[in-house]
Structure formats: C-alpha cells, structure tokens
Amino acid sequence: MKPAPFQYVVPESLEEVMDILGQHGAEAKVLAGGQSLMPLLNMRLARPAVLVDINRLPGLDQIAVEDTAVEIPCLVRQRAAERSPIVAEELPLLREALRHVAHPQIRNRGTICGSIAHADPAAELALVLVALEGEVVAVGRGGERRIPANAFFRGIFTTALEADEVIRSVRIPRRRFSGQAFREFSPRAGDFALVAVAVALDVDPQGRVQTARVAVAAGSDVPARLTEVEARLQGAQAGAEAVKAAAAQAREAVQAGSDAHASEAYRRHLTEVLTEEALLAAMATTGGNVA
C-alpha cells in the first residue's frame, strides 16, 4: 500500500493551481484533505503523475455569508463547518448531515469541497448539496463557472468538472425552510450510508406543505431529488397520512442500487423507512400544525 511515484507540487495561489492543471490535465490530481485520495493512491487505484497540494492556498478556509448564499471555500474542513455558527444558523440540514460523515478524526482533515469533488454516490455532502440546490464554483484557465448540483454529479466518482478545473467553493442558497431533517442507515456508525435521505420543507400556518425537497442516496450512481414525491407532498396537509403515502412513493421512485452491502429491495425498503422518519422529523421542527 504505497503509492505509485508522482510529482508533488505545492502551489501558493489559485492561478498557479490552474496553470499546473492546465499543463497536466487529467494527469494531475488535487489534494485537499486527502481522506479519499490518499487511500486511492496507496491502493494504486489512482495513479496521478502530479499531486497538487492546495492546502497552502491563502484565504480559502473561511465560510462567508453573502446576500443570497453561503459560500464554503475549498479549504474549509468538515469539522469546521460542523462547528460553524454560520452553518448552524443558515444551513441546519448541512450541520445535521455532517455528523454522519465518517468519524471526527476524518472530518478534522476532510474538506466539504473535497467530498463534493470526489463524488462518492453514498456521500452525505453531495446529497445535501443536491437537496439544497447548491452550486459548485469551478475555476480553470477558461475562467470561472457555476455548476448547479444536479448537473454537477454525473456518475460514480464522476463530475462535470473539467480536467483543468478546481473547485474554488460551493455555494448554498440562503433559503430558510420551516423544517428539515437528515436520516441515514449504515452498517456501523461512521460508515457510508446504505441509504441516506435529506428533506427540507415549508409548511404554511394552516399546516399545508408549501414546498418539499426530498433527496435520496440509495446506492445508485448519483444522489437525486425525488420530484414525484415532492410534487405529491406539495399542498398536502402535513401529517402522518401524507408522510406515509410519500414514503411509500419514495420506495417506488428511488433509483436504488444493489451491491455486496445491500440489495436493491432492502435499499428501497430503507428509503421508505428513512423518508418517513425524515419527513416526520422535519414537520416536527416546523413548529406544530402537524396533523
């Protein structure tokens, strides 16, 4: 478990990173927290010619609140986000999900953007980004572009990022929901989820669901919103009945995968169980009016 030989570079500015990536393209890999990349290197499953260590880039480790979005730059550690008052205030769903990401030791090093770039289909952070309609800010020699989450994840470990681009930050809209919840089921605490569900809701004073977001990662290639389930919830009276129906529909609608860890049937079943739990929890945080 020793990596194949590679050239190691430590750029000190984003411009330098872009130059290196422009020069080496797919032969280069960006190292941030290293929590996914280092095992891949050590198992020789990834063999980049150049390893671009971005950990010394200045000014990219602070979460910022803008008018319409919260910006999380590429050197913000998961643990820092988990403890950030801004995240607690603005993005409670992200905060809840972060507690399910691996273990504290790993979150101390791993970055939010690194997890997004790695695009593991079972990753909690990708799911939250999809649920909250965040976007990825990619920079390359061709300039900067913003890629919506639902267009960013293309497949297992595959994203819309070009070979010469690096994620500068992710942006998540400042959009208060009246309730949200994150639920997952994993073999052990800290493992990748067999199924994870993120929901966010607005419930009006009469107890009707105004908007609903339901996103699920269930072993398929990418985390996805269940738009049929969301549509069904919209306008429904918040409560056990609507939740039950929505969860049953989620079971049918979800793209569930099958592998050594869980069958498709079990993942569908867990999707129903977790969707029900998450919706009920999200409704419970809306401040009552749940029938």
Partner: protein, 773 residues
C-alpha cells in the same frame, strides 16, 4: 505457600501498559537494521488461472530493486512450506495460481514503495481456469478441481457412528434439525504480520525477528524449510500487537523472506499491509453443520448427529479450520450437557480461496451455536422451559470427573451454578414479563442463552499429541535478590509480564516489582508450544509456579542451613527467610543470594551453587473452564437492526490470577462475537473474487457496536498448580450463539430461524419479511 498470596487474585495493573500506552512498544515494523531491504509480493488477482507467461525482467530495471524471485526459483532451490502432516507446498505459486492473493513473485528493494513499483512492472499473462468456492459444490461430481491432477477436491474425511446412535434417534420423542453455516472470517490483529531476517556471517546464524505467537515453532519450521540446524536459526519476538491464532505457524512469506536473507546476505524485511492481510492471513471458521438432536419427552438430551463440511482453501494447512474446528467440535459438541452418543461426519474440501487456519476459539463459535440451538428448538417443541431443560441436562457437581461419550473427560466445573447465576443476573422472570409487555406494543425483545465449556490448556490429549504438550519456565534469583523468569509462552496482548510475575512473586514471597518476566527469544527462552489454545496462565504459569516452588525449597534449605535451623522450621516471608515464630532470626534474600552465588563454604554440603530452578510442566490432557452468557436484545422491526440491551457473562476459569485481565479477555471475546454474529464476513463471489479486501468492507465491530459487558465470576479450582483454568477464548466461543439465539427469541412470534451468520440488518429484515408473507 509461606503466607497468603499478596498478588495472585488481585487486580494488579499491567506492568507492560506504561510502555504501550505511551507509544514506547517496539514492534516488528520498528526494527530497521542498517541496510535493511524491503519485500513486496505480487499476488494473484485470479481465483484460479494458469500462468501463461511470467516475465520479471522489467521489474529488475526498476530503481532500487535488489532481487526478484519466482516460485520456480524456490522450488529449484528445494524450498517448500509444510502443510498438514508436513505435506510440502511451494511458498510461491508455480504454473498455476490457486486463489486471489496467492503470492507468485517476491521483489526485494531498498524501499517498500520501490518494491511495489517493481511488482507493477512484472509481466504476467494468466489463462483463467474454472474456480470453485463453495465446499458442497467443490465435492460434487464433476466440480472444477483445485489441483487438476487430483481425483477430487476432498482433502479431509472423518466419520464415526457410535453403536446405539440410530436407536437413540429412532426412539426419541423429539428430533430437531438445523443447518448452521458459520461464515468465513479472519482474525485481523491490529498489528499485521511481519518478519525480518538477517544472516550473521560471523556466527553463521540466521537471526529472525517476527510478529508471531510461537518463536520456537517458527524457528523449527524455518530450519526445516531452509535445511539449517535449529541451532543456526534464532527467532526473537518483539512486542506483538495481537495474534488471535493468525500468527501461529509458518507462512509462505516467512520462508521466502528467510531464504532471501540467506541468499542476499542483507537484512530483509516484510511487513504485511492490510490489503494483503485480508487475503493472506489465515482465513478462519467457514463451516457448515447439518445437525440434529434427539431428545426424550422429559427433555433429556439423548444424541447428536452432525455433518460438517468446510472449504479448506487451496492448501490444507497444519492448523486448518477444516480439520481443527471440526475435529474438536466432534469431541465437545455436547458442551456442558450429558449426551449418550455423538455421531459425525467431516468433509473438508479444497477450494480456490485463501487457506483456512486458526482463530480464537477454534471449534467453538459454530459448535456452541449448534449445541444451544438444538437445545432451544427442542425446548420449544417439547413445550419445556429452556432454562429448566438446560439445568436438567447439565453435568452436575457430583458427577465430575465426567467422561463424555466422545471420549474426553471433564474436570470439575460449575455448569448448573453458572447458568443459574447468569439467569439471576439478567433477571430471567423479569425479562419474560418485559418481553410480554414489549410484544403487546409491537416491540421485539429477546434473550439468548449460551452455556459453554472451553477445552483449554492441552497437554498430552492424544497419545502422540500434535501440539507441544507442555510449557517451560526457568526461575532464577540474581545475587541481589531480584527474580527473572523465562517462559516458553509469549504474550501478544495477554499480559504475561504481569500475571506470571504475580504468581512467582507470591511463590517466593517477594514484591512483584522484584520479578521480571521474559519470553520470546529462542536463544534464551526454554522450549515450549507458545501461546495458543488458552494455555499461557495454566501451562506456562503452572511451569513458572513449579519452578518457583523448587527455587523456594532451595532458598529455604540454604536459609535453614545459615540460620542453623531445620528446613521445616524456617519460612519465606516478605523477602526474608526467618525462623518460624522468631522473626528476629532472619536473613534477607540478598544475603542468601550472595552466599548462593559467591560463598561455596557457607552452602549446605553437596548443594549446587546458584539460585535457579526450571520446570517443564505437562498439564492434564484437557482442562475445562465453563460458564454462561446471556444476551438481551431488541430487534427494530422496521430495519432489522439489532440492539444489544444487556450482556451478562458468568465465567468459571478456576482461580483467577488477575480479574481485570480475565475481564479484558471476556470483553474482547464478546466484541469479536458481536463481529461474528452481526458484522464480519469474508464473502466470495462465485468467480472466487473476495468481497471484503479492506476494512471498509470487512466490518469489524467498533466501540458503538459492543455492549457493556457485566462480568461475574465463579471459581472451581483445577488440578493445575495454582488451580487456574484457561479462559482466553471462551467469550468468543459463547457470544455468537447467545446473540443469534437472542434474535431468534425476539422474533419467536414469527418463527424465525437463522441458518447463517452474520445476522446483518438486511438478513434479519428478510427473515422477518419472509415469515410475515
């Protein structure tokens, strides 16, 4: 003993812990003599394939490479490993690879990274061949053969049908049956295997350091494989970070590394990484039991039949689970119960999988599961209380020594008492009430009971025992009065430096701080069988006690002579020899040490100088510890997840030298039992590809999965000096059965029975769904 024990039985803090807890342990990977070369192995990615072409020349071009060797190089040099019964097999694959992970090329380079670069450069063309994984399929007519020239894959067969067995089944009021498949596992010690070998030209000796449970065995095995006299091989064990059976024996990598050191004249080192550990450490367990039990109307357990089938892997090794797990199971299948006859048939099959070896509790987890399941199923069928039925069948106190129908003799234990104690601790009547109430609310609570015996401390358990039937100790008092104990058992986590010091300190009436325990160097330690089969404190400790007793007699004789008293009138007390009742007439041990080492004229006439005594202690053939586990669980009907609510262990391991260490063994064994029951599985696809090659896929229990374990102790002394019994494996033996049966009990309204472990949430959910529909 001159005075009541000061240390034995006490919760003495482990003397080795300050070193380990402050990061000062010294393990194999820490050793790096000047000029050490690193080894990496090329391992087969195929379960079965012919090696069409093997070209190592590109590897020789890689920077830093010192040598590249293949299976052919080793067989040309006549270097082989020994399998069961000494059957030779090549350490590196020749012509065909037989399992994923099978090593076929070794590279030696300046660094491990360079060695791995060179491994990448080796050109191999494989022609895939049909692979066979499942033992039943492997034994079927027309199955692909692991060795094409062999007639079949059958590698081990044993059967026995005692007289009267069929009649007992025919006349039984109740016959219960089940299939019990214990999954494949591996021990996963935290420190992986490793070996460092160095040829010393001046003494023409091969110095070997290894992470092993048995230095003498490794020395003997390497000497045989390399054709060297045993005196020319020295094995030294540094701190060893866990073994659990996976480090007992001689592996192909050991032979290759030792041979490379001789060939190259440089220190050569290999440290297994976790990826290769998962496919090259012994795999373990993996047996199918198709069992039935015959019972009388009153619940009397009459007889057992068991057909055991096990996939041995590509080679049948000396410690193969396909042989040891099953043969020992055939001897102790009745557990703590009286049974009139046990009939069995054992079939071992060669398969295209990693060879099976030993893992803590060899025989036990599967056999205890079978034994307790038959009991549960019969109780349910006969409408009897499962606790009363167990008590009814257990060997009673007055029946010891009890000769089992299988031929083994149980020494005294506390079978009924341990079950009763466990049921009191878990509040059995209260549990039944809680269970009823929970069921009314749609909740599933269950209680699992596993009463066990553990055969430990093997002596001459067969006329020609396959394992070393004794252990040794040399106890020496230095001129200054300090005591050094050399023992043949090695610690890889057990705490020998503490427990054996406790025994010897009491035997010699000195402070424990005066006693140093050493082991692990074949040049210094006396011969023995090493650490396996729960023997260290009984056989190793027994030898230490015997030797210390002999030394005490000598000290007393010298003291009596110097004090001009009769030997029976003096006693050892707090580091002095004193005339009984006259404490003023005493001599310090330092004074006795001075005389014994320096002053022949003051010694009793004819007595040898020095203060040293030794023992080679052969214990009774088998010493049985016993006890009972009780697990209370709740099953989440939505997800199939099992939560362990309470876990009680009653353990009778005779006299406890150190209850904290005993409890550490129990808690660790329960943790591994949780892994077996719920989490760990080394599965293979039909193509022979392993599913779990990292710890992301092989789910070891973590701190959040292991319950708080309530330990209770009973003490039925054994015949061993000191009255101890082995207990290193019992918790691993009993806990999977207790946990699986707890889940079955929880789901008894649905009539769920499990045929295979682990009980993952999905399997539990599937079982619940299947019975509901």
């Amino acid at each position: 003993m001159a005075q009541a024990p000061r240390f034995t039985g006490q919760r003495i803090r482990r003397v080795e812990d300050p070193r380990f807890l402050t990061g000062r342990g010294r393990y194999l990977a820490d050793l790096e003599p000047l000029g050490t070369l690193a080894v990496a192995f090329l391992r087969s990615p195929h379960a079965h394939a012919r090696i069409r072409r093997l070209d190592v020349t590109p590897a020789l071009q890689v920077s830093g490479v010192a040598a590249v060797v293949t299976g052919a190089d080793l067989t040309e040099a006549n270097i082989y490993c020994a399998g069961l019964g000494g059957q030779p097999y090549p350490p590196l694959a020749v012509d065909e690879v037989l399992y994923v992970g099978h090593p076929l090329v070794a590279v030696v380079a300046r660094s491990r990274a360079q060695a791995e670069d060179a491994i990448d450069a080796v050109v191999v063309e494989y022609e895939p061949l049909p692979a066979v994984v499942d033992p039943v399929e492997a034994l079927a007519e027309g199955a692909p053969r692991v060795f094409s020239q062999a007639e079949s894959n059958l590698c081990f067969h044993l059967e026995h049908t005692p007289e009267g067995l069929d009649a007992l089944f025919a006349e039984a009021a109740c016959v219960v049956r089940g299939t019990f498949r214990h999954q494949r596992q591996t021990a996963v010690p935290m420190e992986t295997r490793g070996i460092l070998a160095q040829y010393e030209p001046v003494s023409s000796r091969l110095q070997v350091y290894a992470s092993s449970q048995w230095g003498h065995g490794l020395r003997d095995g390497l000497a045989k494989a390399l054709g060297l006299p045993q005196s020319k091989v020295q094995v030294t064990l540094p701190d060893v970070g866990g073994g659990f059976g996976a480090k007992y024996g001689v592996y192909p990598e050991d032979v290759v590394v030792a041979w490379l050191a001789l060939k190259l004249g440089r220190p050569v080192k290999w440290v297994s990484d976790r990826l290769e550990a998962m496919v090259s450490d012994f795999h373990a367990r993996d047996s199918i039991h198709i069992a039935e039990g015959a019972f009388a109307k009153d619940g009397t357990f009459l007889a057992i039949r068991d057909h055991m089938i096990s996939p041995a892997g590509a080679y049948l090794l000396d410690g193969s689970a396909a042989v040891l797990e099953t043969v020992i199971a055939s001897l102790v299948l009745p557990g703590p119960y009286k049974v009139q006859a046990v009939g069995f048939r054992i079939d071992g099959a060669l398969t295209n999988t990693t060879p099976l070896g030993t893992y803590r509790g060899v025989w036990g987890p599967a056999a205890t599961w079978v034994q307790e399941s038959l009991m549960e199923r019969a109780a349910s069928e006969l409408g009897l209380d499962r606790v009363q039925m167990r008590l009814h069948n257990m060997v009673r106190k007055e029946e010891f020594p009890y000769a089992s129908c299988t031929g083994v003799v149980y020494d005294p234990g506390s079978y009924q008492e341990s079950l009763q104690t466990a049921m009191e601790a878990i509040d059995y009547p209260g549990f039944l009430k809680r269970q009823r109430e929970a069921r009314a609310q749609g909740r599933y609570l269950g209680l699992g009971i596993a009463a066990f015996v553990e055969p430990t401390s093997l002596g001459a358990w067969q006329p020609e025992p396959p394992t070393v039937p004794y252990e040794s100790a040399v106890v020496r008092m230095e001129p200054g009065g300090e005591v050094v104990v050399q023992v043949s058992v090695n610690s890889h986590g057990q705490g020998h430096e503490t427990t054996i010091a406790q025994l010897v300190a009491d035997a010699l009436s000195v402070d424990i701080g005066k006693v140093t325990v050493r082991f692990g160097d074949t040049a210094a330690a006396p011969y023995g069988g090493g650490t396996f089969g729960s023997r260290s404190i009984t056989v190793g400790g027994g030898a230490a006690l015997e030797a210390a007793g002999r030394l005490r007699d000598k000290i007393l004789a010298i003291g009596a002579h110097l004090l001009e008293a009769a030997p029976e009138d003096v006693e050892l007390r707090d580091g002095t020899v004193a005339v009984k009742g006259v404490p003023a007439r005493s001599l310090s041990l330092a004074e006795i040490g001075r005389v014994a080492h320096w002053v022949p004229a003051k010694m009793p006439s004819g007595m040898e100088m020095g203060l040293e005594a030794s023992s080679r202690y052969v214990p009774p053939p088998i010493t049985f510890s016993n006890g009972c586990h009780a697990a209370e669980v709740e099953v989440d009907p939505k997800t199939g997840r099992v939560r362990i609510q309470r876990y009680v262990v009653v353990e009778d391991c005779g006299v406890m030298v150190n209850p904290t260490i005993v409890e550490g063994q129990i808690i660790g064994g329960v943790a591994q039992g949780v892994g077996a029951a719920f989490l760990e599985e080394l599965g293979y696809g039909e193509d022979g590809q392993p599913w779990a090659t990292t710890l992301m896929d092989y789910h070891l229990p973590s701190v959040t999965d292991v319950p708080r374990v309530e330990c209770l102790h009973l003490e039925t002394p054994s015949a061993v000096p000191g009255g101890m019994k082995g207990m290193g494996e019992s918790a691993m033996v009993a806990s999977p059965a207790a946990l699986v049966l707890a889940v079955e009990d929880a789901l008894s309204p649905l009539g769920v029975r499990f045929e295979r472990m682990p009980l993952t949430p999905e399997r539990v959910w599937q079982a619940m769904t299947a019975t509901r529909s």
